[in-house]
Assembly symmetry: C2
Homo-oligomer: 236 residues x 2
Amino acid sequence: MAARVRAPDRAPTSACAVAVDVALLTVTEGRLQLLLVEPDDPALHGSLALPGRRVRDDEDLDATAHRALAELAGLRAPDAHLEQLRTYGAIARDPRARVVSVVYLALTPTTDARLGTRARLIDVAELDGPRPPRLAYDHDAVIPDAIERARAKLEYTPLATAFVSEPFTLAELRGIYEAVWGVALDDANFRRKVRSVEDFVVPTGERSRPGPGGGRPAQSYRRGTAARLHPAMLRP
Amino acid sequence: MAARVRAPDRAPTSACAVAVDVALLTVTEGRLQLLLVEPDDPALHGSLALPGRRVRDDEDLDATAHRALAELAGLRAPDAHLEQLRTYGAIARDPRARVVSVVYLALTPTTDARLGTRARLIDVAELDGPRPPRLAYDHDAVIPDAIERARAKLEYTPLATAFVSEPFTLAELRGIYEAVWGVALDDANFRRKVRSVEDFVVPTGERSRPGPGGGRPAQSYRRGTAARLHPAMLRP
DNA sequence: TCAAAAGTGTTCGGATTACACCCATGC
DNA sequence: GCATGGGTGTAATCCGAACACTTTTGA
């Protein structure tokens, strides 16, 4: 019995737990959205949180991120773009225990997949609105970092293509930039810029069908092989 | 009682330790240098590592980074620029135990301070040279990330000023850019660019003394208040 | 034939580059 | 004076913003 009690006692020097939280962003109908879930802990009822799980000894951090999405949101997204955002380690960020959280940023196209019953997509504009949802832990500090990272990365990497499924049109891609950045872009200049960046997108030769209102069919594209954009797509 | 038994049971799945490692860069005589130390562990004799320490329950991650610098390199650098690089969590990155490492990037001016006997500054050019030092853990993967982060951040933030002590001259600042990027810059254009960025540097009104070979005294500058450079100082 | 959406051309102004030139100091 | 490093001027060029214009479809 004493041993059991002491185990937590020894912890103080280096036993803080490691968790991975995921900020998954997607663009639906021209609006940037964030995946939030209702936390397990009943004490946090009424608030929302990024999906997160403790890291197990037999999985690396990326695996924990995928597991958090699968277990908490019912999302299997092995193809989603996943990258580390940063690690949050303030002593009291979780009031119950010392937990260091490695936060990931995930980007996916809009999916038809059913979300778990405790998961919701929130319009990021709502987070700055008059009635923002209550957020658990330090996630009110994490989320703006994630959104800013996504906005910045669209400038110098081809990450915008992670928000669309292939094949896509340049108008769809422009819609991603406009939704994430919250600005309107000049179609002509956007088109020229994208096509001038080597290996950003490659035309498939196919054309997409116009919408119900008519319009000229658009050229279809796929992701190119570029890892960085030269020159960058700078925000206005 | 059931509750008490369950607590330790849950632990094994999430008991990996958290450490902080620090990649401290400085520029000495026009060369970019990295601080490395001989690891504590005798099994790692002959190799070098970034200074690192386990995170204690009573300190946040920044505090651990400062402690690692102080305990392992004898460096007290409360004024150094310190920022998180990223977190490395591969299962076997430390062969002895599961350790997740939060790596920090630190930038300081050249210091006269005595380094601890087990600490050395290594020329980063040596790391790609014919006889690179043997590196412990996964630090051979971490160090290039740190150097690239520093190079990238000089472009769009005023971080170059973290490598010089105040007051400094524009020639000194240019020397930082040249050392970190490994390129030669046009003095006239550099000067104009720096001065055109609002609040990047502010002239003190003082002038520095010329060196022994003569030359016109240079205007002295201090760091300005800008957090981002508009427009950026792009690498050639 | 008209509206809608895709796609092209053209002009303008600001930023970047390359390099010639002037200034102040030690020896 | 002259070598050394600090600092300025300027013309050529590149790049992005703005916007007018043409093409191809549905109704």
